[in-house]
């Protein structure tokens, strides 16, 4: 499989271009703003020059008004002809201030304005003198004074300087208008340039983002392809069913079990025998409504095969974004080989346990044959012990050596001595599960105590009895077992510790906290046993 998965590529050189264009755009914006500012200032200046020209012209006009009024009065000798003179006189101080203020930023021109103002004042003074003469010396004297030409010369000078100032302003205005044209052209040029650069930038960014989107898409496509391959070629059966139990996806492993090339739209009932399909759909129904994944053991005979296969199938409901169940995802692992191995192992363990029993039987026969006629009593004792062990093995084997109940062990150990109906003993205690070691040890101890009771203790007389009681206490639990003989002869403590007593005392040597005590009380022998290691570990596997 040489599939090529696309990789994400970086776009190095284009980034440099983008940065360059961006810088250019920023610079262009600066230039545009600067040009607009200069243009605006120039326009303001041109407008201001109109005001200046108007102010200067009005000033001249006011002086002319004053002269006209004075002349009219002197000629007509009617005071109402003096009106233009009076109003001009009122206007002029304001016009002086106003005109000066307009020119204050141009010192050279301001000098000319001041000269104009001084000419104007001189002219007005001249007019004032003529009017005073008219009042004091008569109109003819005033006319003569006017005709000396001083006033006319002042007026000419004023007219000339006004004209010069207006021409100068007009020239400046013309220059500024020319400049304004240049600035505006530059403004439009740079603005167009800016638009071009910005458009270029936008296009470049768009291209780049398109390429990134494409790269991401390809990457996602590659990953999804990879995921699809993983699902498709998984040795586990991976499938999806819709709410109605129809397959919407089945990987190669699933299809090979179905012996089909496609399963889309099919139900299990279309594929498997009724019983199998029903078992599967029961599990599906449960998994559909479960809050989490559930694992089931399922089995079926694949199409075109004769051997039953076993699967460990995990099923989980698939929900949409709103949380509604839309389907069921299943993953099945074929555990047939593992199951077979486990079954084989269990078979071997069972076989081994039976062989142990068999070995005990062989041992019994060999001993019988070897010690024939040697010592009947000793032989019987040996046989008893062997039989007790064998009985305990039986109980353990019945439970696959996972453990045994204390009651079963007690009954099996005591039945050869208390009658098959156990009428001579009483066994009482809660249900206690024992480990195989504890079960064998307790069986051995009960056997030794029973044989002793049968020979010397309560079971040696007709009415004697044995009480066996136990109870559990504490956490971790402690098991206390009490053996009590009643109604027999008073026991005698043996002078020498025999094999049986040693066995009783040492049977629980595997338990560090075990204690065993034998009391030869006159009322009957008692044996108390305390154990801490007796209960099978719950989660331990059988045969491990």
């Amino acid at each position: 499989m040489a599939k090529k998965f696309p990789e994400f590529t970086t776009l190095g050189p284009r980034h440099t271009w983008l940065v360059f264009l961006s810088l250019l755009a920023i610079a262009s914006v600066g230039v545009v703003i600067l040009l607009a500012k200069i243009g605006h200032d120039t326009q303001l200046s041109i407008t201001a020059r109109m005001d200046k020209i108007a102010a200067v012209a009005q000033l001249l006009s006011s002086v002319k008004d004053a002269e006209t009024g004075e002349r009219g009065y002197l000629v007509t000798r009617k005071p109402e002809y003096l009106e233009p003179y009076n109003s001009a006189l009122k206007r002029l101080p304001g016009q002086y201030r106003n005109t000066r203020a307009l020119f204050v930023s141009e010192p050279e021109r301001l000098g000319k304005v001041d000269y104009m103002i001084s000419l104007s004042e001189r002219k007005i003074r001249g007019l004032g003198v003529a009017l005073r003469i008219a009042r004091e010396k008569g109109f003819d004297a005033a006319a003569n004074a006017t005709l000396d030409g001083t006033g006319r010369r002042t007026m000419d000078l004023l007219r000339i300087s006004t004209t010069e100032l207006i021409i100068a302003e007009r020239n400046d205005q013309a220059t500024e208008l020319r400049h304004l044209g240049v600035w505006q052209t530059a403004f439009y040029a740079v603005a167009v340039f800016l638009i071009l650069v910005t458009s270029g930038l936008l296009i470049a960014a768009l291209l780049q983002s398109l390429q990134t989107v494409e790269a991401v898409r390809k990457d996602a496509e590659g990953k999804s392809l990879l995921l699809q391959e993983v699902l498709e070629y998984s040795p586990d059966l991976i499938f999806v069913k819709d709410r109605e139990g129809r397959y919407s996806h089945a990987n190669k492993a699933t299809l090979s079990v179905m012996n089909r090339t496609s399963a889309i739209g099919l139900r299990d009932s279309d594929l498997y025998p009724e019983a199998v399909a029903k078992a599967i759909s029961n599990n599906d129904a449960q998994a559909f409504h479960a809050p989490a994944a559930i694992t089931y053991e399922e089995s079926l005979i694949p199409a075109g095969s004769k051997l039953r296969r076993y699967y460990l199938t995990t099923k989980v409901a698939i929900r949409d974004k709103a949380g509604a169940i839309v389907g069921l995802l299943g993953i099945s692992k074929d555990i047939s080989e593992r199951r077979e191995a486990e079954e084989k192992q269990q078979l071997m363990i069972n076989e081994l346990n039976h062989r142990v029993k068999n070995t005990l039987a062989v041992l019994h026969s060999v001993a019988l044959q070897s010690f024939k006629g040697v010592d009947a009593a000793k032989m019987a004792s040996f046989e008893g012990r062997l039989q007790s062990m064998s009985a305990a093995h039986d109980i353990l084997t019945r439970h696959s050596w996972s453990g045994a109940r204390l009651r079963d062990i007690a009954q099996a150990s005591l039945s050869p001595f208390c009658g098959s109906d156990l009428s001579r003993c009483s066994i009482a205690g809660p249900d206690v599960e024992l480990t195989p070691s504890a079960a064998l040890a307790i069986a051995m101890v009960f056997h030794e105590l029973s044989t002793n009771a049968a020979k010397y203790g309560s079971l040696s007389v007709e009415d004697g009895r044995v009480l066996v009681e136990w109870n559990l206490s504490g956490n971790p639990p402690q098991l206390d077992i009490k053996w009590q003989e009643l109604g027999g002869p008073a026991p005698v403590k043996p002078s020498r510790i025999g094999f049986g007593t040693k066995l009783i005392q040492r049977s629980f040597g595997y338990d560090p906290n075990a204690s065993v005590s034998i009391d030869y009380a006159p009322g009957g022998l008692t044996c108390t046993i305390s154990l801490s290691k007796f209960a099978p570990e719950k989660d331990r596997d059988v045969g491990s």
């Binding site: 070691s437 040890a441 094999f499 040492r506 049977s507 629980f508 040597g509 595997y510």
Partner: protein, 123 residues
């Protein structure tokens, strides 16, 4: 002990019948079985009051293996042999440690003790 070839022996064996018989065999051979225990905590305590020359230790004690205890014996230079029903190949990593296979005869016990104490076996 007056006899130079008689030894004090420690036994770790959880099967009571086997422990008792092994003690008897050692006694018959003139040795002294000073202590027999059936679990590892008891074995550890015995090692702290060491009053023996060598040890015979069972490999499997109710599902627990005695290898860690065996290492302690090596650390304290106590000669010992494994006693086991397993085949010798089940005991790994104890080169030179003798193995007494179950079931054993008194003669095999004698040979093992002699091997441990590097003397001629007693009859």
């Amino acid at each position: 002990m007056s006899d130079r070839n008689a030894f004090k022996i420690f036994i770790l064996e959880d099967e009571p019948a086997l422990g008792i018989v092994l003690e008897d065999m050692l006694s018959d051979l003139g040795h002294e079985a000073v202590q027999t225990v059936g679990n590892l905590p008891a074995a550890q305590r015995a090692l702290e009051h060491r009053n023996f020359d060598c040890a015979l230790i069972d490999v499997n004690l109710g599902g627990e293996q005695s290898f860690a205890f065996a290492r302690k014996l090596i650390d304290q230079s106590v000669p010992f042999a494994f006693v086991t029903g397993y085949s010798a190949s089940a005991v790994v990593g104890f080169k030179g440690v003798p193995i007494l296979q179950k079931p054993y005869t008194q003669e095999q016990v004698a040979t093992t003790i002699a091997q441990l104490m590097q003397v001629r076996p007693r009859q």
